[in-house]
């Protein structure tokens, strides 16, 4: 083969490669993102257009009535979810981070056993816990309350906080803690002044996961708070859908609104969420 021929072949292979990249990209990402595009477009159409013949794939006009109905109905739920999710983050940090520190500083069989128990809790179906908590909270008077739902949602988050933060803290050099100790820092101070500041990346990551977990929770909300009490977004959307079965436009709008907060959080904290996903799954 001549030099020119080889160069020619190389060039055409490169073109073929980039064409394939685009084709494969479409095959992967159209199914991934099209459903979202479809509900957003449909949410701006009025009912008669939607029913005339399936929602159009391209917006022909902007109809915002769907949103005024959906928004006024679920804005309260968004507030409830915010209160619950932020409380769950704070509570799971408060309970989980000191425990992670203790387990990282003290190795040994007992610490290993506790970490194992934390891992096992991650395997338990939410519905098993929810049914039991319903009977327990019934006696404790916690059904349909903020506190009950916050406690239940934090229970799902705390083991994850401990597993991931401990795994991170174990990699911190023991010399830093020794130096602090020589300087006269007690065990509490070595936690607040050395352990916590150094583990900030892991602490932020697990905080985001606790936030997402509580925000997305449906099992606990649906079993513990369905009857009465504070209704988070997932429950609000579920009830909205069952109430407005004949108003698809409003349902499209409500689903779109409900998808916005977590999507926004993902784009704001993409790297942290990816890191947490890997840490949680692969580094137990």
């Amino acid at each position: 083969m001549t030099m020119a021929g080889a160069r020619q072949a190389k060039k055409s292979r490169r073109i073929l490669n980039s064409v394939m990249s685009v084709v494969l990209g479409l095959i992967f990402f159209v199914p991934l993102l099209f459903p979202l595009y479809w509900i957003v477009v449909a949410s701006f159409q009025n009912l008669s257009t939607i029913y005339a013949n399936a929602p159009a794939l391209f917006p022909t006009h902007i109809y915002t009535k769907n949103y005024s109905l959906a928004f006024s109905s679920i804005i309260g739920n968004i507030g409830v979810s915010l209160v619950i999710a932020v409380s769950v983050v704070l509570l799971s940090w408060l309970v989980g981070v000191p425990a992670a520190h203790a387990l990282a500083r003290r190795g040994g069989r007992l610490a290993a056993l506790i970490v194992l128990v934390m891992l096992v809790t991650q395997m338990i179906p939410g519905i098993s816990i929810s049914i039991a908590l319903y009977t327990i909270f019934h006696r404790w008077g916690l059904l349909g309350t903020y506190i009950g739902l916050i406690l239940a949602d934090a229970a799902a988050a705390i083991p994850f906080v401990i597993i991931v933060v401990r795994a991170f803290m174990v990699t911190l050099s023991g010399e830093l803690f020794d130096a602090a100790s020589v300087d006269g820092a007690g065990p509490v101070r070595s936690f607040t002044a050395v352990g916590v500041p150094l583990a900030v990346p892991a602490i932020i990551t697990v905080g985001l996961f606790a936030l997402l977990g509580a925000w997305n929770d449906f099992v606990n909300a649906f079993t513990l708070n369905a009857g009465s009490g504070p209704q988070p977004l997932t429950l609000g959307l579920y009830k909205f859908v069952t109430e407005y079965t004949s108003n698809d436009g409003a349902i499209f709008a409500a689903a779109t609104l409900a998808a916005i907060p977590t999507t926004a959080l993902l784009f704001a904290a993409q790297r942290w969420i990816r890191g947490g996903l890997r840490a949680g799954a692969l580094k137990g």
Binding site: S18, S21, F29, L32, L36, I39, I50, Y51, P55, L94, V95, P98, A99, H101, L116, L119, V120, M123, I124, P125, G126, I127, S128, I129, I131, A132, T135, L151, A152, A155, A167, F168, D183, G184, G186, P187, V188, P201, T205, L212, F218, T234, L237, V241, D248, F252, A255, A258, A259, T262, L266, Q270, R271, R274, G275, L277, R278, A279, A281, L282
Partner: protein, 339 residues
């Protein structure tokens, strides 16, 4: 963090640079004698809230699940907190109930089909993005969008997609000429289960893709290059180098996929509620239906316990494998924006 605010007063405000090491106060030696004990007590104190939490919100509920599953536990028992002991009656009743068998089979089909497709598509997507072409970084940002959404939202979106009239699925199939009249996706048992599986695959692909993508990045480049020099083609390199070195990640992703899929409740509940006529019930939705629709907590917990046994067994295998992997390659973990 607020948990520790009270403890800060204890001890001197020591500088961490060691500059004040010389000025240790008198009486320090007696303090030092107690130091180990103090440290141990404080660390135990750090653990107590977490352990209490696990006992109250995992151990106690599971104990409750087991006791209730041997009781006749309805409205009156709920108020008193005690049901009548009935032995294995709830379990035999459930296992003789055709819906339970259906739910078991459905859960198995749902789990296997979901995990298989999520894994295959996720792996293909990971390999695709690992090629680092122009725009791969941009596309990568969108992968997790389906994963972060509440499953209730996913369920709602797919109930609109699979709607008989004007649903996206039927519109596409009709415009392609594959069907001539709308299919009742959510009104036929097996189609309803298929719809749940498709929605779940959509929600689960991102999880698989991200973990497998990170596994691909850890495949030693030298080995791939060496194989290329030896004349191995792309598929052979993938088969002989990439897959073997990713074995632990692959196993973990599959195990976690099985556990997380088998226990999912939100998505099937919002999409079909177990219907039509219990035909798409999964163990999770069937446990809920028993407990909260029939108000029979005895049978509800019996079904939940059967599901728990399954996820627990898979979980034990997962923990065993992940420990093995960690022992094999004790690499420093990456958290946060390090990549």
């Amino acid at each position: 963090m607020a948990a520790t605010a009270t403890g800060v007063k204890e001890g001197k405000r020591a500088s961490l640079t060691g500059a004040r090491r010389a000025s240790t106060p008198v009486g320090h030696s007696s303090f030092r004698l107690n130091r180990r004990t103090t440290e141990r007590l404080v660390l135990i104190g750090f653990l107590v809230p977490a352990l209490t939490y696990v006992v109250l919100f995992f151990v106690y509920p599971l104990y409750q699940d087991i006791t209730i599953s041997f009781q006749d536990y309805g409205f009156s028992a709920l108020a008193s907190g005690h049901g009548t002991y009935v032995g294995f009656a709830n379990y035999t009743a459930m296992l003789n109930n055709s819906t339970t068998i259906r739910a078991l089979v459905n859960t198995l089909i749902f789990t296997v089909a979901s995990v298989m497709f999520q894994f295959a598509i996720g792996f293909a997507l990971a390999v695709y993005l690992n090629r680092q072409f122009a725009g791969s970084g941009f596309l990568r940002r969108f992968i997790l969008v389906p994963w972060v959404m509440p499953l209730v939202v996913t369920g709602t979106i797919f109930s609109l997609i699979f709607a008989t009239s004007n649903g996206l699925a039927n519109e596409i199939l009709e415009s392609l000429g594959l069907i001539h009249s709308p299919i009742g996706w959510l009104t036929n048992g097996y189609l309803a289960l298929t719809a749940i599986i498709i929605a779940n695959i959509w929600a689960g692909v991102p999880f698989n893709a991200v973990l497998l993508y990170s596994g691909l990045q850890d495949v030693p480049a030298e080995q791939l290059e060496a194989a290329a020099v030896d004349g191995a083609n792309g598929w052979q390199r993938f088969r002989r180098v990439t897959v073997p070195s990713m074995r632990p990640v692959i196993l973990i992703v599959l195990m976690l996929g099985v556990v997380y899929t088998a226990k999912v409740f939100d998505l099937p509940w919002v999409l079909t509620g177990g219907g039509p006529a219990n035909e798409s019930q999964l163990m999770s939705t069937w446990a809920y239906t028993n407990a909260f629709t029939a108000f029979n907590f005895g049978t509800g917990t019996a079904v939940a316990n059967i599901l728990l046994l399954f996820t627990f067994l898979v979980g034990v295998v997962y923990i065993y494998i992940s420990r093995g992997e960690r022992a094999r390659a004790a690499r420093p973990m990456r958290v946060g924006g390090q990549r």
